[in-house]
Symmetry: C2
Subunit: 233 residues, 2 copies
DNA sequence: CGGAGTATTGAAACCTATCAACAATTGTGG
DNA sequence: CCACAATTGTTGATAGGTTTCAATACTCCG
């Protein structure tokens, strides 16, 4: 599957007590948190659970899902290394968070975060900015879901993912895909078959390469951007 | 494809200099702002404009739209009395805001709001909560756009709108619709014809009544909730 | 009262979903 | 290390829900 995917036993999320620096990517977090790991497909927290903690992703990937009673699923977002998942409004989580692959995280109890806001207003302001950015991203995603066709959705998704991973992760413009076709489909409001068809159509075009199902190399970025949609933001 | 270009009179937004209390609904705003009015279909601000102010709606309604180059449009949100529109991340607006009907607003310059955060951290915390709520609503909307069929979308929309308007506005469970079918369609990722068909199907069912195109009375709320989707949030 | 904008309704086309079969990959255990 | 089983991905044929195109009716205001 992917480099860091190890044995996928169904143990729960394991927590060690070692302290860990919060890292540069989220300056609004407390200085220390608990190192934690989650094996593939384990649930970090469930929609409706009491929101005790949030988590910064160290390595791996998390998906955040909302589910209808009959099983229809929407993947609201993917969280990649550096991202923080689990800070919601209210006392309960708004969605379920699951590990896509074996994932290393740092856990921060909510009370510690709230305390940090008291002592340091700038931290709260930083979180506000992050939240406003996520809201803007959500609005772009709604435009995608509401008004783009299958090919535009897939092309836009690939470009966004490449941008988020940054040059560091994607060597030679090759995107390491942690998630399955089903995850991508549930994120784009499509079926996994349609996602597969679009990817293979792009492959036949010569726009992308698919060395293996979990690696996508962007061969013709400009063409991909043109397919992404008839008008950037 | 679709391009509901709304070109009516293009008078600008008129501003009076009278001061006005910020009201109970948005305690994170400064105490005073400028009363302003916007006639139907006028543009409050445009995507990409420098974000100088935000606006609290006093009466009327605002729609917030994102547009693709070929004219396809998505209505990211409707803003109703009490709501505040225009506080985005970055220095420019993320979307275009237009008046759906003649609208009364109170304008707050961004520098004044920023200053208020400096002096009163609780104000910033309130805005964070509001923003987190809007993010949660956006995630529910993505589930709707990605995974619900036309009837479920329309039913969900009506229920949400009724809840937002509150008992005060909707006398006798009758929802006053400020927006057109095209606005609703662009908000639900449908065409205006499909929205019309779904509404009239609900009318034939006896689930709702349509006294006139801009008034919807909910006759059988439970049935509407059942149609809304196979699984509540 | 008339005219422009808005809403409704019908018929046909299209894109994507669904169903189904098969191929490829991954992980497991001999 | 290889073979097998399970999962994941690909591809094809068909069906179905929405869109598109078109015509007509309604509503609101000047």
């Amino acid at each position: 599957m992917i480099s860091h995917a190890m044995n996928a036993r169904h143990t729960d999320v394991a927590t060690s007590v070692a302290a860990e620096a919060s890292g540069e990517s989220a300056p609004w977090l407390p200085a220390k948190g608990m190192r934690t790991s989650a094996v593939r497909d384990s649930v970090l927290f469930r929609e409706g659970d009491e929101a005790r903690s949030c988590y910064r992703i160290q390595s791996g990937a998390i998906r955040v899902v909302k589910v209808l009673a009959d099983g229809r699923r929407y993947v609201a977002d993917f969280f990649l290394p550096g991202d923080v998942v689990g800070f919601d409004c209210g006392d309960t989580y708004e969605y379920t968070a699951e590990a896509i692959v074996d994932t290393e995280l740092v856990r921060y109890p909510r009370p510690l975060i709230e305390a940090r806001f008291e002592e340091n207003p700038a931290a709260g302001r930083r979180l506000l900015d992050v939240t406003l950015q996520r809201l803007a991203a959500a609005q772009s995603q709604m435009l995608l879901l509401g008004r783009m066709n299958a090919m535009e959705r897939v092309a836009t998704f690939l470009l966004n993912l490449e941008r988020r991973l940054g040059a560091k992760e994607s060597v030679d413009r090759t995107i390491p895909l942690a998630m399955t076709r089903a995850d991508i489909a549930d994120h784009l409001g499509l079926t996994l078959e349609t996602v597969s068809r679009m990817l293979n159509q792009l492959k036949r075009d010569g726009t992308i390469g698919l060395p293996d199902p979990h690696r996508i190399s962007v061969l013709k970025p400009q063409r991909l951007e043109r397919m992404a949609c008839a008008g950037g933001h």
